[in-house]
Subunit: 123 residues, 2 copies
């Protein structure tokens, strides 16, 4: 279970959420959890990924790999998010070929962070 | 040297950069390197943090800590970035009190990613 898919469950995605109503982030998490985690992936809810201006957001990370954050996600994207997480988990180094990434991952990247062990700039 | 400050050196920050001219990202890296790394921090250039719509960008990370990505940075912010990196390195868990963070870190967060060991949602 090396790969973690973090899903921000507090995100309001710029909407007004009435008291007692689920946030768009919570709905996104429920949709993703409903599909279920791909092999090698843990789906972990988190309170705020500090990407509030681009919510909802999810993050993929694993030891020794680049981490990725994606924004402007909604529950309609749950299937693509799970597929993207599966591809990340299946790629030996987490580097999924560009064309094999879901379109929402290609177009809605907020940031990526190099693995901590990376000693130099990427070639 | 547990904390890494990654600086995207390929970022054009939406500008047209003439051939042979340094990118805004490279200028930002040079300004940060010119100030020098705070204790416990390694300044590491990186090619693209995939935050191109919000460049220039920098990222702070360390094993077992939340990672942070900040955007819309320029060489004029180098001093604040280094101060923010020093505060992150000095905080035992990397969680710098809100008021102790540089204003550009408070206002220009692109995302944060939980440490990989985090088993549950943050309280």
């Amino acid at each position: 279970m090396a790969v973690t898919l973090h899903v921000c469950i507090t995100c309001k995605a710029g909407q007004t959420v009435s008291e007692g109503q689920p946030t768009p982030g919570k709905l996104l998490h429920e949709a993703i959890a409903g599909i279920g985690a791909p092999e090698g992936v843990a789906i972990v809810p988190v309170e705020c990924l500090s990407a509030c201006n681009n919510g909802c957001s999810v993050a993929l990370s694993a030891p020794g790999r680049w981490s990725y954050v994606y924004g402007r996600m909604s529950q309609e994207n749950a299937k693509e998010i799970v597929a993207g997480a599966a591809a990340y988990a299946a790629a030996p180094d987490g580097l999924v070929p560009w064309r094999s990434r879901p379109e929402i991952f290609r177009k809605q990247s907020l940031a990526r962070i190099p693995p901590m062990s990376l000693p130099e700039a990427a070639e």
